[in-house]
Each structure stands twice: as structure tokens, then as C-alpha cells.
Symmetry: C3
Subunit: 350 residues, 3 copies
């Protein structure tokens, strides 16, 4: 499948890889093993020993080295074979390594040209670090379906009115008519919902019973990183007096039909309320798992392996944001394929 | 796969679709959603929203309209989009609809040219309606294997002597030497079993212990609709004095390797005996599920994806009926492909 | 897939086929049914009735004949149809039969030209028959992965040091530096481990606590038959005074991604110790099932359907034996394809 390669992909939450342990995960069709070296730095290697192709993740970590569990070869984080119990060390025994960064409570991997993997290209998600633990929660869904269907889902929140009517929806997104804009390679979409009934969740969780003004802004950046800012106040109250949440929705492709969906939430009100924090986290995980995932999986299944555009979708105004994202990403991939053909696998390798 | 399109296929038993509910079923490689409108008429639509391809069957029915559960578009039974919460209605948002008829306690769908879908082309199965509930039973098996293997199974009842020796068989079909005939596009096969020991089922269920005369006639019509009439009397008794059953065996292809097998039974004796009715129904469902289905599935599996004729079957006299059916259906499909190429998907779409 | 056809493959342990019963097993992509005739001789037929392709193994054995469970045709061990309840017998109704030999407590099948299937070409495994029951044990693993990965596993026992460190390993194989030789179409590999700590299993099972001398010799012959002789003595003791085991490791391909792994063990010490015998058998089955099988399956999975050589394995000195075996077998298959093209299925049939 076609992917953007020269960019950081979120690979895991940082706490998914503990010292001495390994995490094997498939990203962009490549199976990769993550481990922490003796300095606690995360390393990422192709999860396949160059000798006999056993997955390195079936071995073990010792200090800075991952040891193959089949014949004992050892590789450091650069992919260099530093231990061969059976003979001399040669460069032929290297395994591919990937640049990794640990930031924003997450691990980021660079699947393209390693020479271009600058820390400065990481997305600006400092709010994740800034949030106190009692105002931060995160989750993960192993999603079925192409990752762009998952991005589309966030770029068009009117779906909440129909798919989540008892929690996040209620008709306000649909009535709001979103405004879409582009800015420095990012796509923004914004819903202003004025003087509306509160959503079921506002009512039950935040005791908002009268009419409310709320606004939601999603900002997408490549390859599939979205922040979602949402605030609400009783109608007429100045916005600065209301609380708001700042959420993260990140889609990383596993393959053409599977998606790693990472999400997190922070807020600027009741920041030390651990119970509220846990309740929000639980509800979110439940909605994404029991409502979004089955719908997107069914949608992908109904596409029967066809490409999105081949099926000639009947586009509506609500698709403006997601289509802008799809076109921008398509363009970025095409440009990259022309400029760096070497990092793109040929069609045959698909 | 090649199918006959301009004909009625049985899609479901009528009571599988209740008012306000939906049934999603794949027929001839197409997933279709059935629902009842406010007048209780059954409607059939392609089970895929033209907007974003979510299955409509994951939404809900409201009055005459099926509402997509993802973004709320509504479609009536004609496939017209009658509700778009996000903008104006246009013809582009239509979904394919299929002619449906409710008859003989079943739902019938026309997968070909809708202009040709006449109610007069339904098979003549009025006996199903005429039977009292205590002399009628029906069943369904989701069968593995090509639907023609399932038709073959009914067109050659000698298999009962070997596959069902403790119930329906006993050697009489094999000894009877069937007579095959064609009549107005139908294929008939008839076994006359004179002065034979009764089958185990006759013995246990109908108290027939002495020698019996019995006759069985199967009549096939396209695409896979078979009636089976069977009567038996103590040898020497006039046939008019004996009871008989009139059964239905209908095979509708789901795909090249799956078959919807619908069956029903009526009888003209002990018509008000509900216990006997239930016992027959139970035994039949058990035989078809535990004896026919595993054998046909194994047969299909052993064919390893090859076409029937490619494998050069060693034909016997008992295959006369089923081969006649296969040839006739092949000819009908070929004629239809020439006359109405537009309704046949191209090979690529397979 | 490419296979060697003109040779004996082990198909089953002899006691897997009891009189009157059948065993259906896929070998070299062909499903075969084994049964014993009235003289207790094992017969092997293509497990597919030539009439309607039902698996014969779903029928039953009567005397010398296997009866199809669908329409009652009967076939003897030569594949001749000897019973047709529906008409005359003809040669057209034959099913393919395969030469079979019962020897060394096992069943051997010849998948190539039957005219070349000489009993004299069986491997020389008389030690299996000679062993008393209390010094013989055997096992079977239905293994995932190409059968040559399974052969490789035995041709390079250094894997024991890493994959089985708590039982069979300990570093001695790795330190020993194997010697490889070829002899009359066989490949031999030998490890001499002098003055070493005993392996965990020697320690616990054979009370060897001081330093030991041990030697292990594997001898491969086509298509995938390996004997493994292993002896050990306290360092300095003459070898003749120590006990030794003589084991069998046989890999028969089911298909390109599945392997039948048969193994057995005999020994020349404590030959009447049934408890020790059972304990060895249990440990071996457990190691092969929980350590070797998952590793080889993972290795095969990580190869993602690619050929071994296409992936450019980084070969080490320890691969000498397995590579010699791979090259020899490749050569044998190529020669056979040139000399007997008729017995090799074309690429399309794959």
C-alpha cells in the first residue's frame, strides 16, 4: 500500500514498552520490535533476525542488546550484530533499525529516510506532558479498516449525532455547519453550536441542563494526527469562564486493512478530580470500542476491498474536511514518491 | 461467478423480517438489506450507504425509511434518498433497490433487470399457503459449497440409501431406477418403489411394517426450486387411499462457495396432528444439518476450488436428472448473458 | 510447490490406522485416505470419489473395500471400483492408489511413479523394530511452516543452547563446532562436546553431575529423514561404557506451509525402565510442542510467504549442514523434474 514515509508515526504509548521487555507491532506493513536499552532509551528494529528470520521479539533483552531466541545472535539499537556465538561479527548480519523518539507520553517512529528524521518534525503536543495525571487519560483500539476511514471519522463529527446519540451527539454538530480551513499544511474544521440543548454527556457528567454554547475544533496534520479542542458554557456566559477539553486522536496504519487508533484526553477544569477523570476515560473507551469500531469495520467490510474513490462516494457538505485531508495526504505521498522513490516499496512488494 | 439474474430467488422466509426490523443477507455475491415499510411491504436495498458505504442494516427503520446509522441519510424502498440532514436531496444519493415479492410464506427477490420482474414469473407454490399450520413446517441451513451441489443432492435421491440409511433410505431409491423427463423448462425425476420393505422412518413414524409401494417425484425449475412429492401405501392398496407429502427444497446461492438452503414440508394426512408435524420438522432439520450439510461441505472442500466439469466426474445413470438440470441452467445463463449482458457483472468484478 | 516424488515419505505411525477404520491425511498437497484391508494390509487411495468427489474417508471400510458414504461406490486397495449399486462397473470409475509399505512401526507412501516404488528403497531404520517397548517412544507434531525449516532445525542443534536452555541446551553444541560430511547421498553432521558441564536434562534425568564427554551425530537422507545418535559419559570414561540414544526425526510436507513432524526415540541403557521411557517421551513431546513449534511457526510467519533464498539469509558456519541438505534436495528435485516431468504437477496446479 502507498504510505507517507518521511514523517513521525505514533507507534505506541511510552508505557507499553518497559525496561527489559519488548513490544512487537506491525506498522505500515512492517513488523517492528521495540525495546529499551540500559539507558532506558527506546530502540526499534525490524522484528526479524537476518540469519534465519525468527522474530527477535521471541528472544530477550540483555543490557543494550536484543538476543535472538533461536540461535543467539545479538543486535544493538543501531541494528548492528554485536554478538555472534558461532563465529566472527560481520556487517552482513545487520538488521534494519528505525529512528525513534519518546515524547508526549508516546513513542514515535520514522519509517522513511533516517537522515531526515529530525526531532523538530515531531508534532507539537506539549499539552499532553503538561496535563496532571488526574486530568489525563489515554486509550487504544486495534481497529479494523483503512486508517483513512478512521481519520474521516474524526474530521466529520456529525457522525456523533447518529452513532453516539445517547452520549456525545444530539444533533448540534449537524446543525452547526462546520467551517473548514487550511493553514501551513494543517486542515482545521470547526463547529460552533450556539444556544443548543446540552448533549446527554454534558447533562449527566457536567450538570449542564440549560441551553449551552459549545465549540469544537479539530486540527489534522499528516500522517494522521488530530487534536480536538472542545469547550462549552451556559448560553450567554463568556467562553473564558467555561472549561474545555483538549483531546488527541492518532491513527497509524498497521496495513491496508488495520489501524492503530491511539487517543488521549486532557482538560482545564476539575483538573484534580481523579474520579471524573476515570469516568471520562471509561466512557470514551467504551464508545470508541462498541460504537465507532464496529461501524468503521462494517464500513470497511462493505467496501469489499475496493479503493475509496473507485466506489464513487456520494459526497456531502460534511465531507469537506475529510476530503481535504485525503487530497492533501495523497498529494504529499505522490510528491514523496517522486522525490524519494527509494523509500517506497515497489508495487510487487505489496 | 456466473448466475441467472432474470428470475425470482427465494431470499428468506417471510417471518425472518418483522416490521421495524432488518435482515441483512448476501445473495449472488451482493449484500442486501430487507425491511418492512409502514404498510408492511417488504423492501430490498443494496446494504451499503452510497455516502460512506456503511451497511444500512446497522441503522434503523423509521416508517417507510431506512436510516443510515453513521450520518443519518434516509432511503425509502425505491432506494431514493428522502432524508439528508446535511444538505439538499439529490438523485446522486440513491441506493440500488430490488423488486421483492412476498408469497408462499417467503420473500422473493429479482436480481436482474427490474423491468422484467413480473409477479407472474413466481413459481407456483400455492400448496404452501394452503397447508394448515399443523401440516406445515419449514427450515433453513446455511450450507457450505456451491448451490448446484445442493441441487444435485435432491435431484439424485439414491444418496438417501447411503447417507441416511437409518431414516430416509434403505435401498429402495437405488433399486427403483429413476425416470427423468423434461417439460416446459422443468426437469422431473421419478422413483417408483414397488413391494419394498418400508424405510426406517415409515416404520417408526407411520406404523408401516409390511411391504409398501411408494413413489417420489421431484420437479426442478430454475434457478434452484424443487418440489418433492412422496406417497406410500401398503402394497396392493390403491394409491388414492395413502397419504402423501409435498415438500419444498430451494437453493439460493450466497456466493460461489455458500448456499442458502430453504426447505418446507406439507402433507395431506393427519393434517391436524401438531405433534407429528413437530417431530417430522425436527427429524428433517437434524438430517439435513448433520448428514447432508457435512457431506456436501466435504465434497465441495475436496473439489479444491475447481469447477465441476474440470474435474471430469465419472457419471453414473443416477446423475441423469442432476446433469440435465446443470445443462439446462448453463444454457439459460449463457442465453441471458448474450441477451442482457448489462446485468451480468464482468469477470473482473468477480 | 516443488517436491521430490520418487521416494518414500512417512505418512503416519502404523497404529494410527486400525483395521476397519480410516485415516485421512494431506501429503504433498494431496489428500489421501489410508485403510487396512481384510488381510490387515494398509492401502492408500486419493481421498476423493471419482463420481461426485465426496471424500472416501467419510464412508466406511467393508472387508477389502472402502465404500463411499454418499452414493455407495466401493473401491479396493488398487483403486478399482468393485461395487457400483447403480449400474455396470467400468474402468472409468477408478480412483488413484498409492504404493504403501508398513515398516519400522510406520506407514510409508510413494507419491511418484508407482513402477519405481521398491521396498528396497525404504530407509534403513531397523533399530526402531529392534527396540523393546520400554525403550521406545514416539510422537507427532502438526507443524506450521515449510518442512525444510523443520529439517534445518535438526541439522543445526546449536539452537538447543538458545531455545532449550533448561533441558537439552547449555552451550555445548555452540562450543563444539560441528563437522559436516557427505556420504552416498546422505549428509552427516557431528558435534563432539568434550569435558563440558552436563546439560540440565543429563543432570536431572541421568544423575550426571560432573564433567561429561558427549557426542551427537545426525544423518539426513532424502526427503526428510534424520537419525540422531547421542551418547555421553563422565569425562575420561571409555565411550563404550556410556549409554546412548538413537532417535528419529522425520518431516513430511503436508503443503508449502504445513509439516507432519514424526519423531521417535530408542536407547541402549535402562531398556526395561518403563517410567524413564515415559518421562523422556513426555519431556520430548513438550519441548517440541511448546518450544520448537512456536519458534518455527513464527519464523515461517515472519518470512511472509517469501522463498528462503529470496530473503537472502545471512548464513553462519552453523548453517553448513542444513544448507548442504537444502542444496542436495534441490538438486534431486531438479534432476527428477527433468527425468520424470510427468509426475510433477505443472505450476498452474499449485
Amino acid at each position: 500500500m502507498r504510505y507517507l514515509y518521511n514523517c513521525w508515526y505514533m507507534a505506541a504509548w511510552a508505557d507499553e514498552v518497559s525496561k527489559g521487555d519488548m513490544l512487537s507491532r506491525k506498522l505500515l506493513d512492517q513488523r517492528i520490535v521495540f525495546f529499551r536499552d540500559s539507558a532506558n532509551r527506546v530502540q526499534a528494529l525490524r522484528d526479524r533476525c537476518p540469519h534465519r528470520f525468527a522474530p527477535l521479539s521471541k528472544g530477550r533483552v540483555e543490557g543494550d542488546v536484543i538476543l535472538c531466541g533461536y540461535h543467539g545472535l545479538g543486535f544493538d539499537g543501531s541494528g548492528t550484530c554485536t554478538l555472534n556465538p558461532h563465529g566472527p561479527l560481520t556487517r552482513a548480519h545487520a538488521v534494519k533499525s528505525y529512528p525513534v523518539q519518546e515524547a508526549f507520553r508516546a513513542l514515535w517512529i520514522w519509517m522513511g529516510d533516517p537522515g531526515k528524521a529530525s526531532r523538530h518534525l515531531l508534532p507539537a503536543l506539549g499539552f499532553v506532558d503538561a496535563a496532571p495525571d488526574t486530568a489525563f487519560s489515554k486509550g487504544y483500539v486495534a481497529g479494523k479498516g483503512h486508517y483513512q476511514l478512521w481519520s474521516d471519522n474524526i474530521m466529520d463529527l456529525t457522525h456523533a449525532d447518529f452513532l453516539h446519540p445517547t452520549t456525545l451527539g444530539g444533533g448540534t454538530f449537524t446543525r452547526a455547519k462546520a467551517k473548514v480551513s487550511e493553514y501551513e499544511g494543517k486542515v482545521r474544521i470547526r463547529w460552533d453550536c450556539m444556544n443548543e440543548e446540552p448533549t446527554p454527556l454534558m447533562r449527566s457528567m457536567r450538570d449542564m441542563t440549560g441551553k449551552v454554547d459549545s465549540w469544537t475544533e479539530v486540527e489534522w496534520s499528516a500522517p494522521g494526527i488530530m487534536t480536538l479542542r472542545n469547550g462549552s458554557v451556559p448560553t450567554g456566559t463568556p467562553r473564558e469562564l467555561g472549561g474545555s477539553v483538549l483531546n488527541l486522536h492518532i491513527m497509524t496504519p498497521e496495513s491496508k486493512d488495520k489501524t492503530h487508533y491511539f487517543f488521549a484526553s486532557t482538560r482545564d477544569f476539575a483538573e484534580d478530580n481523579a474520579d471524573l477523570n476515570a469516568m471520562f476515560a471509561r466512557i470514551r473507551q467504551e464508545i470508541f470500542t462498541t460504537e465507532d469500531e464496529p461501524m468503521i469495520a462494517a464500513q470497511y467490510c462493505a467496501m469489499e476491498g475496493e479503493e475509496f474513490w473507485t466506489l464513487k462516494p456520494a459526497l456531502l457538505r460534511i465531507d469537506e474536511g475529510s476530503i481535504l485531508v485525503r487530497r492533501r495526504l495523497d498529494r504529499m505521498i505522490s510528491e514523496e514518491e517522486q522525490q524519494s522513490p527509494a523509500i517506497h516499496p515497489s508495487d510487487e512488494a505489496e
